[in-house]
Symmetry: D2
């Protein structure tokens, strides 16, 4: 059955109904005040087909802190600018370790395993700092163009990240000690902390990820964001590395390329068909949104839209 | 374009032609004599569509030692017998470590990360020993049924594995020391060493994996081998964990569920469409068949048949 | 004050009195039945000066399973036979990891850090198997000569070790997989399990270790057991590596070369002065005898006999 | 033979003569310019007996960068101020890992193994920042008092350490991320980088370490620096943890408490008898002064003054 024949609005509504008794599950991230004060009971979901049809349910229009979901945007921008050269300094393998671990980085001489662990995203930020005169603004504009509307940083969140991000400061200095960063640590972390602070809604994220199910083309303006092959490769990285320590579990239970953030957002793509985003701030012990994962599992079960 | 409209024989012939200048690349596994004396120049490829059409090129009919490819069969049999209970003692995440590493096993108290690293396959073998009166024979019959013809162990290979498999003996005893095996180490390793010794051709393996692109149904007899969901989940595990340390690289460059063995074989599935197998004994530094990986990359490039 | 001027019998008696309210502290090792059925309340202590004066208190004459204390004897015998060549395949550094860990062994390609972790003792056993026609008997005779009386294996303990020693079997096979053992695994482990099963009393162990405070000379027969320099080096290894994960703690609180075993025995040497042995089966969380450690701390505090 | 009966000047002269053909061995540390421009051919040695006799040979009066040797001073000062409480947040065991490793720190939740690895010294610096109004000056005065003369920082070295010390910045932020530091990272690292920059000669260091062989009493003014027991414990820590990855090797070959620095200095104590210092900037592959280690081995061999 083609996506255009499915009652996708009904699917989203059913998911909201199915999960409503579970609202509030999981634990909200507390390491910065702006995240800690978000209620665990929020839930939103939105999807956008390749053809441009949009569907929303729950709080799909409410902005939240996208956190690590931003790693997809920064990677896409870096792949667009640096092409194949980007991969000279970073791997493409699952790490098998926590997202903020320094162990593997020590064993592997400062080369991050993939762009979706923190060390990898800091590496990507370093390359953007090298190639962009105003890296923060360049990233913000890139995301805005993908979404078809202006997207903004939450400066309170960015400041909190900077003030408490000792682990990320450690990661950046550790890579610097191995000679893996081209720039001083400060501007690299400034970009990294800002990208994490992007405030976006499920609907905006479903838009912004649309190029991943459309051969790399921005559905808003028809321009090539990344090549067809690069878009497929970002999907592959999301599936193998996009959800912290639970990538295998996501593949096993959901079977879609996903990228999650500690703000409770998860974006997913059904290659060639649609992009979607779900948000619920309560996290499970793997750091992924508990209801977000349940919603995606339900979505795949209801639609059969898995890559496997 | 549907698979039935493709000139799949032409695709396979083109791949053989494309790779013929590279025959002999890579290094043949040398840890047992029976593998060491195989020429690196062999190359075969075979595929079978869900509908039953078969295509072959190169030495598609020549038997080789399937080694770790057998982990797909033993996992399928164990999932069929034990269902969800199997997962109580084993994970589903990429390990991020070499296939025969003991490090993670120590940190994680003897629980293997997934069924495709050696520790995980030994765990699966243990469960088969628990549930089968004649585990070796049960596995051999299971594989034969999937292939529609009798498949056999290579007893010379099995004996060599047993005589030199100190690392696997260490792994099994290590898990036993954590209380993770139900049976004595000897019969578990006997099954494990035998499954690795199965001798099969590309054509046979493409047949034998047919259930993975057919909702779990054995295309030879129409019987349900594993459930539809279980078949999808095996595909997911193959994509995230099936190719040693190079699972991310396979996903990035090929984008299909694959399982490789040190004998030089790689099986792959295009979910809902076809199963294929390529064989070339020369391995790259990740332990995967060098030309096998190149052939799969060429296949995906020529057909567009990637899951992403 | 010289040792000959001290009231050493009084010191030992005072230690017994001091610790009597604490008898039963710690947890007896339970991994084999013969150890598990020993009461935690035993306590014995014995010392022997370089000049041959002997002092005993508590159950100093009761035999117990010396377990890892035996690693001092096997090392001394291997150093005597192989001299400097022994060190080609084994390190002399503290491991920083549990005594039975496989992690470091994997990172360091099967070369044990030192002779007092299990992997190192198995390496030493391998070299003894290489050089002795009847290694078990050779070791037993060596120990008997040091003690001036016949010492025996406890065959029940040895059989239990063999039947349950999966971790040690894993260690031996792991080293074998790196090509670090000259002999098959079985005879090496047979020697290792037997040396652990030696049954000796505190008085016998204080005798048997006498060569370590006497320039390497057996005080019973005046023969050179190992060279003066070798004796000093064994003392150094005991201080840096002799007490599992607690070597730093022993040095900090006691300051004497010590070697402990899970049977609850600890031998210690005061270089040039005396050797002593304390036994109490209750272990602390580091695997060392809880009261044994307390007794040694009290001994040093009462006599000032620390190397620092 | 008592120390007062030895011809210690002759011993030092003989050592200088013995090693003169080897001057220039090893590789000078190059990570900061001020260290890199020191010639490898320097060699100095000085000792001071408990009774106050002093002996010097070679360039015993020439100042060099003491680097990690300073960890003895900062530890002594912190033990003096904080007593037993210091040990609530830091271990006393050899690490088994490189001095600047982050791996163990991650596994052990930010608690350093001992005060002589970099993480441990940063922890000690943090406590000094907590307890001293002017921590830099407090440390400088403490060292000056021990030496009986004014000692100074080399501000060029301190600035270079700060500008290039990414690994140490990473370590401090990593511990901070685990909540293990009481103060902001900056003042802690400021103290740490300054202590490493202390410029002292062999003669000054032999003086400054005199309290370690004199029951904790400053031989210059007769005041108790640390308790007798604390002095013994610092010696114990030096022996088990003082020479990077080579503590076992130092114990085995030399058998004295030692602390080395990448500037090429090594201090050693013969408990109750004397303190000594040797300096030669060429380092071996363990990061210890190559000729310094040779000199200490020769010293022990010539005098028999080992603790074992």
């Amino acid at each position: 059955m083609g996506v255009s024949d499915m009652n996708l609005q009904g699917v989203l509504d059913d998911i909201v109904a199915e999960l409503s008794p579970r609202l509030g599950e999981g634990r909200v991230a507390t390491y910065i005040p702006a995240l800690a004060r978000v209620e665990a009971t929020h839930f939103g979901i939105a999807l956008r087909t390749r053809e441009g049809a949009e569907f929303r349910a729950g709080e799909a229009g409410r902005a939240f802190s996208i956190q690590s979901v931003s790693k997809v945007f920064s990677l896409a921008l870096a792949m667009r600018i640096h092409g194949q050269d980007l991969w000279a300094g970073i791997g493409r393998e699952p790490s098998g370790n926590p997202f903020n671990s320094l162990v593997q980085l020590e064993t592997e001489q400062g080369v991050p395993r993939n762009p979706f662990i923190n060390a990898g995203a800091i590496f990507v930020a370093d390359r953007l700092v090298s190639s962009c005169a105003h890296p923060r603004e360049a990233l913000r504009e890139f995301v805005s163009t993908l979404c078809g509307e202006e997207i903004h940083f939450d400066e309170e969140v960015a400041a909190s990240e900077a003030a408490t991000g000792f682990r990320n400061i450690a990661l950046a200095n550790f890579m610097k000690s191995f000679g893996r960063l081209e720039n001083p640590v400060e501007p690299v972390l400034d970009l990294y902390f800002h990208q994490c602070s992007l405030a976006m809604s499920c609907a905006q994220l479903a838009h912004g990820m649309g190029f991943l199910c459309a051969d790399g083309v921005n559905p808003h303006d028809g321009r090539q964001v990344v090549s067809h092959r690069q878009a497929r490769r970002i999907n592959a990285l999301m599936l193998t590395c996009g959800t912290y320590d639970a990538a295998g579990e996501f593949a096993f239970r959901i079977g879609l390329p996903c990228k999650s953030g500690v703000g409770g957002g998860i974006v997913a793509t059904v290659p060639d068909r649609l992009s979607l985003c779900v948000w619920s701030p309560g996290l499970d012990e793997t750091g992924n949104s508990a209801l977000g994962m349940a919603a995606l599992e339900s979505f795949v079960s209801r639609t059969g839209l898995s890559v496997f």
